[in-house]
Amino acid sequence: MSDMMVYRGNPFNEIEELGDGMFRLHMGPQHPISGQGRFIILTDGERVFDIEVDIGYSHRGTEKLLEHRTFIQGIVPVERMVMIDTANILMGYIGAVERILGVEPPPRANYIRTIVMEMNRIISHLYALGLLSESAAWNPAVFLWTTADREPFLDLLEMLTGARWSYSFFVPGGVRADIPRGFKERLLVTLDWFEKRIDVIEEAWIYNELFRMRTEGMGVISRQEAIEWGVAGPNLRASGVAYDTRKNEPYAAYGELDFKMVTHTAGDAYARGWARVEEMRVSVDIIRQAIENMPDGPVRVRVPQRAKPGEALFRVETSRGEMNVYIVSDGKDKPYRVKISPASFRNFLAIEMIPKTQTVLLADAPVLIYSFDPWFLDADR
């Protein structure tokens, strides 16, 4: 009986006093919202004074792996970085490899790439919206809706590439296959259906009063701060910075298509969520244009095995933001050094900086984190 009452301190469970009733709350890596990372939150119970993002739980050393693989063997490790956004991530690597090998993919391949990437962007944004809604406690309703809405696009991608995820469809010098028969018709039907679904999501979720109460004015990043901290992607555009790699440094077929860049000025969590919904509309528009204006011709050209010594930097707009791949070659069939700077890695800095500039409550922390759409495997590499 007596030994039951003895307090045996558990170092992981103890309430560690930091003065003024402050303590560190470890959200993750075992937590409903944490994913594969950890957020160390300095709090007094309700107010958050500091967030520290602890990543690296799934570090695979992708950059080192790539140094030991030929250019084409590097596709698979790169692609595994973000399973939900494989095409856009892979485009960064493939684009840099093509630049250093000195080849240009044929125009038709560029258009097919554009379609695949935009479908991936829709899938990824749907997932991001679902997670944002769940972080604001929408029971998983919106999450499951958006998950279900991804399915037609996954089916289309399976039809085109043979796999629902990680299709390794892009290769240096083009894509692996041409579009199959019946794909265009099915794609157009899906797009018509999906535009109606965006309206539903917008009505149920974006205009929902309680959701606005939770997100409006929360986690505001001004234009100046966004540039200072190097925020990426829709988060950057929600703060009013007109940067979209698809516009600023066009790759694939984006230079030949006419589409809108979504920008907001509010810079809060609500604007970041809304920017994603609007970007899905833009993606639908891009896919329509690409499938209609697709030129004929080959989809793949031969590429040399070895690269000339030199370096190349390729910037690509993934769903989470701009990623850049910097390749140094020493004239072999393998890259000498690959530096991948993913978008999530940059957005984590903003998550850490926001509690230093404004009041964040504990309940805001998950909404704040998921309004950036973080992806730990991306940041861990």
């Binding site: 301190g9 469970n13 604001a136 406690a137 929408w138 309703a141 309940a363």
Partner: protein
């Protein structure tokens, strides 16, 4: 030698009330049904099927399977926890909602403890114990998530219970009694939700806070606090927590029905008044929990500061205004407050 059989025979009606209806069996039955119904109902809104493997398409055996799983699981008690309080609370907590249900009339003259004359006050008196035991479980687990959850529970209960009590004061004034039995009888012609519409709005919002469901599930907020004060409970202790959670929903929903929706009143379908009363109260209960579940799935969770501000700045003045209006109406239309 105590004559147990004789004692039971002499007090058979009260034993039936305690053990069958509206006591133990009814509460267990409701909790099991509510969990199943919530799963299936929310699943349909989320565009999925809900449990389908155990018990065919309806999945009715799933809950039995879940309960068996929880009962056979290892009980994990954190090393740093205060073990006695940690365990005792799990037995104490389901008792409180059950005691609250004891004063609710289910048919004319049919309540476990009628408490004639002060049953509404007794209900509120018992309900104040819930957060006290609640904070004990948060404290006993000695965990950061549970302690934050327990404090949030206190904040929310204070902000929510006062408007709820003041809103039901409007009903008390309108009816001129504290007796739930008489309040129900007075609603034979007109439900109190119509004359007390302002009070009902206040009551309903406060009520959502009292049952701690979305948009007010702030103490157990999953996205930041895992499961609030219940985080450390496992196995059968978790089952007890779940039971007390849903029994709490049952108790407050029954109070809402009794105060505003005519309690057991309804067209006489069954000849027996007890069966008839029970039938109508269960029908109203099902409609009410459907509405609660729909609200759960269509709204986001409020932040604690927003919820407290709502309680103190909007609900409290509105409930006081409601009392004033009730007194004026009663005074001018019906000639004086009873």
């Amino acid at each position: 030698m105590v004559d147990i059989v004789g004692f039971v025979q002499a007090n058979l009606p009260i034993f039936i009330k305690i053990l069958l209806f509206p006591g133990l069996l009814f509460i267990f039955g409701f909790v099991i049904f509510a969990v199943w119904y919530q799963r299936k109902y929310l699943a349909r809104i989320m565009l999925r099927m809900g449990p389908v493997h155990c018990g065919k398409r309806l999945g009715w055996l799933q809950l039995v399977a879940d309960a068996m799983k929880l009962l056979t699981k290892e009980l994990i008690i954190p090393r740093a926890a205060n073990k006695i309080v940690f365990i005792v609370v799990t037995f104490l907590l389901p008792v409180i909602p059950a005691a609250m249900i004891a004063v609710i009339p289910f048919a004319p003259g049919y309540a476990i403890y009628p408490a004639s004359g002060y049953s509404l006050l007794l209900f509120f008196a018992i309900s104040t114990l819930f957060p006290v035991v609640g904070i004990l479980r948060g404290w006993a687990a000695n965990n950061k998530f549970t302690i934050i959850g327990a404090f949030r529970m206190i904040y929310l209960d204070i902000a929510g219970e006062i408007p709820v009590f003041l809103a039901s004061t409007g009903v008390m004034i309108w009816a001129g009694t504290y007796d739930l039995q008489k309040i129900v009888e007075l609603q034979r012609d007109m439900w109190f939700v119509f004359p007390q519409i302002l009070g009902f709005i206040v009551f309903f919002i406060g009520f959502l806070g009292m049952i701690e469901k979305i948009p007010f599930d702030i103490p157990t907020a999953e996205s930041e606090l895992v499961y609030g004060p219940n985080t450390e409970y496992s196995g059968a202790m978790f089952l007890n927590m779940m039971l007390s959670d849903y029994a709490n929903v049952l108790a407050w929903t029954l109070l809402m029905i009794t105060l505003y929706f005519g309690g057991y009143n309804g067209p006489a379908i069954f000849p027996d008044p007890i069966v008839n009363g029970a039938f109508w109260i269960i029908v109203k209960l099902l409609i009410a929990i459907s509405i609660i579940f729909t609200i759960m799935i269509t709204y986001a969770r409020l932040r604690i500061d927003q919820a407290i501000r709502m309680g103190w700045s909007y609900l409290l003045p509105l409930s006081l205004l409601n009392i004033l209006l009730t007194i004026i109406l009663k005074f001018f239309l019906f000639g004086g407050v009873a």
